[in-house]
């Protein structure tokens, strides 16, 4: 699907452009070579020592351009990068680097977007050797991902969409629009101060957490009766509160329970942003917090106000109470105290602690030796379950490899935007076989021992589905609770 040639994919729906245009010299090996032509022939391994020579021997030579080049060279060692810039070309964010030193690179990205836009078209991705470069131009911002990890343009677009949502969640779409209407070359970094932690964490999660890939959340495994009494405690103390929209209890980035106002749903992508916020903000552990947050799928133009607190010193589950009323802090604070008291009385805190300490289940618990690992998403509820990564996927290289396989298979099964949905795919690989099965109710991706006969696979997978069915009430939240 990709050779050494470099080509650009354009969005046909936008304008009359062609879908594949070769605008770059096919001999060029990577995106970064645009910046410094003379370095095309350099080997990557030589770069670091050359850098140090540069800086120590003749520091006077280090002008702005060579500084840029040095940063670009250090970026080349990364498998994946994400850049955010304004339409005016102002740097906003760079994963794994200082955006300040990349002004010319940002200028190039801006130029690429606009030179295609001049033809009433939109640039979506560029393939350059092993690299794939995806673009998303949304609102006043441009998002660019550069990767050699083998993601498809669709997956990179998903990642960039999340990056965009994160910025909206911090500022709201309306504020973002207004800022750039007033001053086209505004330096947005001023307003995003501190949000880079959220962005770093989100971008890491997009690669490592199957939740984003599946568009689903995983739930803390709990006995249904315990989960019910937790939900019940929340309903008891919150049902009378006007304007409270969502009450969410998280433990280790897993959902314990979600209670919502009857007429509103929480989109998994919004929930991912909340989980990311809690996971990347340690300051919530210090005290009760009260913060505005925008959930882009819920309302991209307005803020909700979140009361965020950990349940107790002896129970590190995080409760989020989201309301539209900015004056409700003390009311929610009181509700939280009531919830905690009730949870303590009914021994729910211990149950949560136990479940957190267990940390999940392994394939040994499932006891189907031929299956090494799996992802199972319950489609109607957008929840998923997966065992812990155990051998041979317990080292990070193998784990990454498996996740990349899942990514690739997911892309093959559910091509976004296309009508073609595959139902069942079985792939025999060198190290494992993969079975992917998509129905109206579930998506299953299972990694299977490579030496298992094809005929034996389906019975094993059926056994797995039976096991999931039997554990369903612990692994998933089956009933949705409302105020």
């Amino acid at each position: 699907m990709d050779g050494s040639a470099t080509f650009v994919e354009l969005d046909r729906s936008v304008g009359p452009g062609c879908s594949e245009v070769s605008i770059l010299d096919p001999n060029e090996s990577s995106f970064y070579d645009f910046v410094s032509d003379e370095e095309v022939t350099e080997r990557k391994q030589e770069e670091p020592c050359e850098d140090s020579e540069d800086s120590s021997d003749n520091p006077e030579d280090v002008d702005a351009v060579s500084e840029d080049e040095r940063v670009v060279r250090s970026l080349r060692e990364r498998d994946k990068l994400v850049f955010i810039l304004s339409e005016a070309g102002k740097p906003i964010y760079c994963r794994h680097g200082s955006e300040e030193k990349l002004v010319s690179l940002f200028g190039l990205m801006q130029a690429l977007v606009f030179c295609v836009q001049d033809d009433d078209d939109q640039i979506k991705s560029i393939t350059a050797g092993a690299y794939r470069i995806a673009f998303l131009n949304k609102g006043p911002l441009i998002f660019v991902a550069v990767s050699r990890r083998g993601e498809t343009p669709g997956q990179l677009a998903l990642h960039l969409g999340y990056a965009q949502s994160l910025i909206v969640s911090v500022l709201t779409a309306a504020q973002l629009k207004k800022i750039f209407e007033q001053r086209r070359n505004y330096d947005l970094r001023k307003l995003l101060g501190g949000a880079d932690r959220l962005m770093d964490n989100l971008l890491d999660g997009l690669e490592q957490d199957p939740a984003y890939l599946l568009g689903a959340v995983s739930c803390l495994a709990l006995n249904p009766s315990v989960r019910d009494s937790i939900s019940d405690a929340i309903v008891r103390h919150c049902a009378k509160l006007k304007n409270l929209v969502f009450a969410i209890l998280l433990a280790d980035s897993q959902l314990v329970t979600l209670v919502r106002m009857k007429k509103y749903m929480l989109h998994p992508a919004d929930l991912h942003l909340l989980i990311n916020l809690v996971a990347s903000s340690e300051s919530f552990k210090l005290s009760e917090s009260w913060t505005p947050i925008c959930l882009p799928r819920f309302d991209a133009n307005g803020f909700l106000h979140a009361h965020v607190s950990y349940l107790a010193d002896d129970c590190q589950a995080c409760l989020l109470l989201l309301t539209v009323d900015k004056d409700q802090f003390f009311v929610l604070s009181e509700a939280k105290q009531g919830i905690v008291q009730r949870l303590r009385r009914y021994k729910c805190l211990e149950a949560i602690n136990r479940a957190m300490k267990n940390g999940g289940y392994t394939m040994q618990d499932v006891n189907i030796p031929e299956i090494r690992h799996f992802l199972y998403k319950a489609r109607p509820t957008a929840q998923y379950t997966a065992p812990l990564f155990s051998a041979p996927y317990d080292d990070s290289y193998e784990k990454d490899r498996l996740l990349a396989l899942y990514h690739r298979m997911h892309q093959r099964m559910l091509l976004p935007g296309s009508q073609r949905h595959l139902k069942l795919v079985y792939v025999v690989g060198k190290y494992e076989c993969l079975l992917c099965w998509v129905t109206a109710f579930f998506e299953l991706y299972a990694a299977i021992e490579p030496l298992v006969e094809k005929e034996a696979v389906i019975p094993r997978v059926e056994k797995l589905l039976n096991w999931i069915k039997s554990e369903e009430s612990r692994l998933f939240i089956l009933t949705s609770t409302t105020f």
Partner: protein, 223 residues
């Protein structure tokens, strides 16, 4: 300054501050640029702990503590706000109805003092009943033989500023405990707060010695 502004704009605020009063007796807000040490100051006061890592506050964090002041017990409800620029637009949610504001600046960062001046002006405009405490932080970094070089906010800058806005007195609390104690004492001794103070539980019988207090206090502290 003692009079409550009767214009309609403020009516809502008076109402909300009454609501707040039913929960905590004295609302104290911390404002200032990000990373200047607001959370550290509060953490030291509330829990007597110090966290080495920098963990930026999201939105605002709330904490409360009872203090004894001039024979009365009152509860300080402390709002520790995030210093990031993006919260500025909605900072009013956090500071309105506050009886005291600790406006922090980092003694080793000149920009943070400019920002502190912004906050002080903002509070003067918006919150008549709020007493403002300018607080220079990280004083420990400016001490010692090397320390002088770290100092970026001139010793006279805060006093010049308070002179400009026509108020001010300098105090030197040595730790966050003393700073919050000073706030509590000022609150009790301020005649405006008399109706509230009368209802506070007393810890001993006897007439408290009222202490003189200006509208402004300038304090420096390290923790």
């Amino acid at each position: 300054m003692e009079l409550i502004n009767p214009t309609s704009v403020f009516n809502a605020d008076i109402f909300s501050s009454v609501l707040v009063m039913s929960q905590v007796d004295v609302k104290v807000v911390l404002l200032g640029s990000s990373g200047c040490g607001k959370t550290s100051l509060v953490e030291r006061f509330l829990h007597d702990r110090f966290e080495e890592r920098y963990m930026p506050t999201i939105g605002a964090a709330f904490g409360a503590k009872r203090v004894k002041a001039l024979g009365k017990i009152l509860k300080l409800g402390i709002w520790d706000t995030a210093g990031q620029e993006r919260y500025k637009a909605m900072s009013r949610i956090y500071y309105r109805g506050a009886k005291a504001a600790i406006v922090c600046y980092d003694l080793t960062d000149a920009d943070s003092f400019r920002e502190a001046q912004f906050w002080a002006q903002e509070l003067l405009k918006q919150e008549d009943a709020c007493k403002i405490y300018l607080c220079g932080t990280k004083a420990d970094l400016t001490r010692g033989p090397e320390g002088g070089r770290n100092r970026r906010v001139d010793f006279y800058a805060p006093t010049d500023f308070t002179d400009d806005v026509n108020a001010g007195k300098r105090r030197k609390p040595h730790d966050s405990e003393e700073l919050f104690q000073a706030i509590a004492d000022d609150f009790i001794s301020n005649p405006v707060n008399e109706p509230i103070v009368q209802e506070l539980p007393s810890i001993h019988v006897g007439k408290d010695q009222p202490r003189p207090s200006g509208t402004w206090s300038s304090v420096c502290c390290s923790y």
